[in-house]
């Protein structure tokens, strides 16, 4: 088995060039985001982001967050290249009822197209809004972590294309070490808000694609507390079981009770038929 691999994305050096997004498109032969502008999207007005979100054709998506005070004394423009996190405990994989979502030998999460029947349970489970259904194939689609490239010992296309090495690819263990060093450095140079998101096991047991951020996760459109879907299941069973028992007993009791009540006024009476012999 090869070592678990991951991405360490250092958002402080992301220049929002979207090379990763384009490289992913190209390698995976994906069409552009559809829209009304001669088949392409219109200007979103949301900073320099015109594709809006991860989608069935954009497996990478670069986010732009403008943070300016009215007097521009506070001025920051955050950029972050979003992708499937290849969660250590992967909600999508956990719920998938067809087994189409697999963990590969590289410890990445992979959707095996031919098995998927498009039920979309994985979409509801993924805490990061990663998975979408393809409009022509009608199956769930997301970043494959360039499984085909990994198999050939190649760096994933997006990491390869990233000009600033904001996306670093490598063995997960090594990346986590490196990331810790970078956070320490930032802290030292006064970027007190720098921290790692998903590098330890607090978030879904760890994210193989983890991030260095300088603001709270929500600023980047990331949940601070994503859930493992299965954790709710025992509770649901418990509450449902209790309710079922109480309801069932009530129903049984209603039919067991021998007290006769006067027939309602005006209700027609009819002999009951079909009584078993």
């Amino acid at each position: 088995m090869p070592e678990p691999v991951g991405f360490f994305t250092d958002t402080t050096v992301c220049i929002g060039c979207k090379a990763c997004q384009v490289a992913c498109h190209q390698w995976n032969n994906l069409p552009a985001e559809p829209g009304p502008n001669n088949g392409l999207p219109v200007l979103s007005g949301d900073s320099y982001d015109n594709t809006g979100h991860l989608s069935s054709v954009n497996w990478r998506h670069v986010k732009f967050i403008e943070q300016f005070s009215p007097d521009r004394k506070q001025a920051a423009w955050l950029m972050m290249s979003d992708v499937c996190k290849h969660c250590s405990g992967a909600p999508c994989l956990e719920v998938c009822p067809t087994g189409a979502i697999l963990r590969t030998e590289f410890d990445t999460v992979y959707i095996n197209d031919p098995a998927c029947n498009g039920c979309r349970d994985c979409i509801s489970a993924c805490p990061f809004g990663v998975i979408h259904v393809d409009e022509t194939k009608h199956v769930a689609q997301k970043c494959t972590f360039c499984y085909d490239r990994l198999k050939h010992n190649l760096t994933p296309a997006c990491a390869q294309a990233c000009p600033t090495q904001s996306i670093k690819f490598g063995p997960l263990k090594k990346l986590r070490e490196e990331a810790k060093g970078r956070v320490e450095q930032l802290q030292k140079t006064g970027v007190k808000d720098a921290y790692l998101y998903g590098a330890d096991d607090k978030i879904l047991g760890g994210l193989n694609a983890f991030y260095l951020l300088v603001d709270k996760p929500e600023t980047y459109g990331l949940p601070s507390n994503p859930k493992m879907p299965s954790r709710s299941v025992p509770w649901s069973i418990l509450w449902s079981g209790l309710t079922a028992i109480v309801a069932g007993l009530g129903i049984i009791f209603s039919f067991r009770n021998r007290t006769r009540v006067e027939p309602a006024r005006g209700a027609r009476q009819r002999p009951q038929e079909g009584r078993p012999a």
């Binding site: 088995m1 070592e3 678990p4 979100h53 405990g89 994989l93 956990e94 719920v95 009822p97 087994g99 697999l102 963990r103 031919p114 998927c116 029947n117 498009g118 039920c119 979309r120 349970d121 979409i123 509801s124 489970a125 993924c126 990061f128 990663v130 499984y147 085909d148 198999k151 990331l222 949940p223 601070s224 507390n225 859930k227 493992m228 879907p229 299965s230 299941v233 025992p234 509770w235 649901s236 509450w239 449902s240 309710t243 309801a247 009530g250 129903i251 009791f253 039919f255 067991r256 009770n257 009540v261 027939p263 309602a264 006024r265 209700a267 009951q272 079909g274 009584r275 078993p276 012999a277």
Partner: protein, 364 residues
Amino acid sequence: MNVFVADPDWGWWIILYFYLGGIAAGAYFIATLIDLFGRVEDRELARPGYWIAFPLIALCGLFLTVDLGRPERFWHMLFRSEVVHEAIREGWPKSGWGTFLHAPFAKYWSPMSVGSWGLLVFGACSGLSFLGSLRSNGFLARLLRYSIFGKIIALIGCVLGFFVASYTGALLTATNQPLWSDNTWIAPLFLISSASTGMAALILINGLRGVDPSGLAHRLMRAETWCIFLELVVFAIFWITLTPFIRVILSTWQGLLLLVGVSMFGLLLPLALHWLPGHAASRLVASSVLVLIGGFVLRYALLREDEALLTKGPAIAVPAVDYERPPLISHFSPEDGRPPGQPGADPMNRSPETAPRSKVFQGD
């Protein structure tokens, strides 16, 4: 509340499934409860439960299939498609059974996965019961309803009825969607709502048939009162667990509908009608209709609220408080707490044979 997720786009097919499937399951388990525990003379009241359970659940199966992106692959939920294909390559069903035996597939922690099997078996039970209830007497009725075999079917079906009624709620909860995953009371809510709507359906059909209105009014109504009351309690708990998010939820019309529509039409008005002195059949009919409407509104609003919250997206001031759910059973699924490199939810994984996506690898 996580508003950064994608919308699974569970629309009309699913709303109808949740609703009609709930009625079917409710009607079925009520019917079996009557059959199993009720008085002999009440069995006639139960028959319509079987009549509607099977057609509705069959219809639901259709809806679910249609809703799939790839309907022709509906069976992938039950059998590992790759294994089946492998077995077929080996000549299944003539041979290749050894491989095929590995094909059936379920994840006990995944409501959808277990649900598919549950639905299948429930469908079978309800189908048999349906046949057994076509006539009140006769061979089929004896065999499929009154015999020990029939009782076993009813017992299994009853349990599965409760299951089918509630797993859809667990399905919504076992996600990361806003509201759905923010409490664990949707499953019991759906369950009890199934009971009340199933009962309402029974009352109406029996009413239409003109079966013993007085007995009907008497016993069915008492059961119905109980169910509605219980639903009110569960509904209240449901909202209490959502306290941190109430402002956000009620800022959408779907959220308002969920609170007001369900409590008014589905719960308070029917209860009032029940609790008013006297037993006007018309009131019973009215209350049942209201309950059926309420049950629909519940599914509709709950499913649509997700979309509404997501459309509002990060723009809504999401409260920092998050719904903490300490696991009842830790590591319920093998995926939960899986260390990197270890097998997780799907140990049966085999490396997918990826079709090369780029020209570079073609031919190697």
